[in-house]
């Protein structure tokens, strides 16, 4: 019980903040990638893990956030903070509109409709040349203005990528703190009730659809933040951000880490991206390896990494007691 009271987000933040000084440039790069996509995966888990809704189109909101931020900062020359604020608002607004229809459907149809909406977003990004740059996407999205860091001790000597890591880490940490608050709030508990038994939740007077829609909007908004951060990190925004294989990718990260726990998706993201870096150094057949890992995972460790660790710990504790 006490473990939950600890400020875990702060602890993890303090552990990760040192990477630019101690890790190499390569590790800072990898850490930025992991931190941003961990937010994407954790936002999805608000739907899957907490509410029991399997979205197959979560990349739509990631893409909308990325384009919103890129268009505002690059095309219109507005400061980063405006783009960063607009991303969750726009992604959340689209999630509200799409979600309104999605939450009316059950299971497989819900998944199909989220997929259809995401593909619509992808098609618009792909074809609306004037706004999104079409197939070419939007290359060289500007970094935020980080010159103010030069006035601070320790930070002055950092490279741009390292400064951006710190910016992304702070934004993601705030989002994680918010997500954790949401999950453990009375609202989050209601989502769990709905996940466990939607019919019963309805009988005891919960407006199931409204709660599901609220979860959908929140998940979309946080995915939008992740998209905005990723577009800058990636030095460009492309239609593929919203394509269905991106939605599948984030589902895999979530599953790999474990949908049953708050930190599971983040752990899964770290594991998957690290593995990707390691394996692509040896072979170009990464999808084959990923597919194989996924199959093993589905059959042997359906609870993901965190689920497997939990099961192992429980077994250890039981043995000690016996």
């Amino acid at each position: 019980m006490n473990a939950r009271r600890l400020p875990w987000v702060l602890i993890v933040f303090l552990l990760l903040v040192w990477i630019p000084w101690f890790g190499s440039r390569y590790y800072t790069f990898l850490a930025t990638d992991i931190v941003i996509l961990a937010l994407f995966a954790t936002s999805l888990n608000l739907l899957i893990g907490s509410t029991g809704l399997v979205s197959f189109g979560h990349a739509a909101y990631f893409g909308i956030g990325a384009y919103a931020c890129a268009i505002l900062t690059k095309t219109h020359g507005l400061p980063f903070i405006v783009g960063l604020a607009a991303a969750p608002v726009l992604a959340g607004a689209f999630a509200a509109f799409f979600g309104f229809f999605c939450v009316r459907l059950t299971r497989i149809y819900f998944a199909m409709l989220t997929l259809a909406f995401a593909q619509i977003v992808w098609a618009v990004c792909l074809k609306w040349n004037a706004m999104t740059g079409g197939e070419q996407g939007m290359p060289s999205v500007p970094y935020p203005n980080m010159d103010w860091m030069n006035a601070l001790p320790f930070l002055a000597g950092l490279r741009v990528g390292e400064k951006y890591y710190l910016v992304a880490l702070v934004v993601v940490a705030v989002c994680f703190a918010l997500l954790r608050m949401i999950v453990y709030s009375p609202f989050g508990r209601m989502l769990t009730v709905i996940r466990e038994n939607p019919e019963r939740a309805g009988f005891i007077g919960i407006n199931v659809r409204r709660y599901e829609l609220a979860a959908f909007v929140l998940a979309g908004a946080f995915a939008g933040v992740a998209g905005a951060l990723f577009g800058i990190f990636n030095r460009g925004v492309f239609p593929d951000f919203a394509y269905w294989s991106k939605s599948a990718e984030v589902l895999i990260m979530t599953l790999l880490g474990g949908m049953g726990s708050f930190w599971g998706p983040a752990v899964g993201t770290a594991a998957l991206l690290w593995l990707h870096q390691q394996i692509t150094a040896y072979t170009q057949f990464w999808p084959f390896i990923l597919g194989t890992i996924l199959i093993i995972l589905l059959f042997a460790f359906p609870g993901g990494i965190v689920g497997a660790i939990d099961a192992g710990l429980t077994r250890l504790r039981r043995r000690r007691r016996a």
């Binding site: 899957i48 497989i108 998944a111 199909m112 593909q119 619509i120 599948a248 597919g291 194989t292 589905l298």
Partner: protein
């Protein structure tokens, strides 16, 4: 732009696309109807059908009637692969949530996609038309290749054949019963194991057949698996998951949307197709000709 000849040409091309898609999507729909699994790997089976057909044509000699043998071998090989995957792996996931099944079939997409790249490389491959179907028919000023005509006849033939099997044979009765209530069927003592494996094999056969038959018309490239599966999803969702004639109707609509959407503005087709899919899901989630799941 909108002269009758042009419109007729678009109509015909839409019809050809539709019948190709019907071949593939019907397998997807039948598998969903019985197994309740949305099979992402269906696109991979289609791709493998194309590659195997190309390989067979290389061995048997291009521009001969052995093309037909190559098509048959490709479809059967894919059917066998489908049955093996179903028996060895997929069946263990029937009791789990849909998410696990979806991700399993996606894992198969990843593995088969890379295996195909490993075996056949990444360059574009193509297969010439068989000599018996070279040339074209001139109709109202539009050239319709004989090969397209053949596909336009084959699609409805397969639809009729399947609906006869479903309505007249004992296997068809089992399939319809499984679509209605799987537990009851197995409780009544029917061997559902064979039914599921058989259904998955037949569905895969159709995907392989579609892939093999498409080779004289479209280039064989990596990525064709991912592209076709989304189109097949649109078709089955519009028509109704699990409904054979629904899939037929869905394919016809999709083909025409693709063919005429281009008149609105380039790039509109793809948007319109997904918008149609979303609209159907919102207004009639079980599709135009499908029945609501219980």
């Amino acid at each position: 732009m909108t002269e009758p000849t042009f419109l007729f040409g678009q109509f015909v091309s839409g019809l050809t696309t539709a019948m190709f898609l019907f071949l593939i999507a019907s397998g997807l729909s039948l598998i969903f109807g019985v197994l309740r699994v949305l099979n992402f790997a269906h696109g991979s089976f289609y791709m493998l059908g194309a590659y195997v057909a190309w390989q067979m044509v290389q061995w048997l000699g291009p521009r001969t009637e052995s093309f037909w043998l190559a098509v048959l071998v490709a479809a059967l090989a894919v059917a066998l692969l489908g049955a093996v995957i179903e028996r060895l792996l997929l069946r263990h996931l029937y009791r789990r949530e849909e998410l696990y099944q979806l991700l399993f079939t996606y894992a198969v997409v990843l593995v088969l996609g890379d295996l195909a790249k490993f075996t056949w490389g990444t360059q574009q491959l193509s297969v010439p038309r068989p000599p018996s179907l070279e040339g074209a028919l001139h109709l109202f000023g539009v050239q319709i290749p004989y090969y397209s005509l053949f596909i336009m006849v084959l699609g409805p033939l397969i639809a009729v054949a399947f609906s006869l099997v479903l309505s007249r044979t004992s296997a068809g009765r089992m399939i319809r019963a499984a679509a209605l209530d799987r537990e009851m069927l197995s409780a009544l003592g029917a061997n559902t194991n064979w039914l599921y494996a058989g259904m998955f094999a037949v569905g895969s056969f159709l995907a392989g057949l579609g892939g093999a038959l498409v080779t004289p018309v479209r280039a064989i490239v990596p990525g064709m698996d991912v592209e076709i599966i989304v189109e097949a999803f649109i078709v089955v969702v519009i028509g109704g998951l699990g409904s054979l004639w629904g899939t037929f109707l869905g394919a016809l609509i999709f083909g025409q949307v693709l063919a005429f959407g281009i008149l609105v503005f380039p790039g509109f087709s793809i948007f319109a197709a997904f918008a149609l899919m979303a609209a159907v899901l919102i207004l009639r989630p079980w599709g135009l000709l499908g029945k609501p799941l219980k």
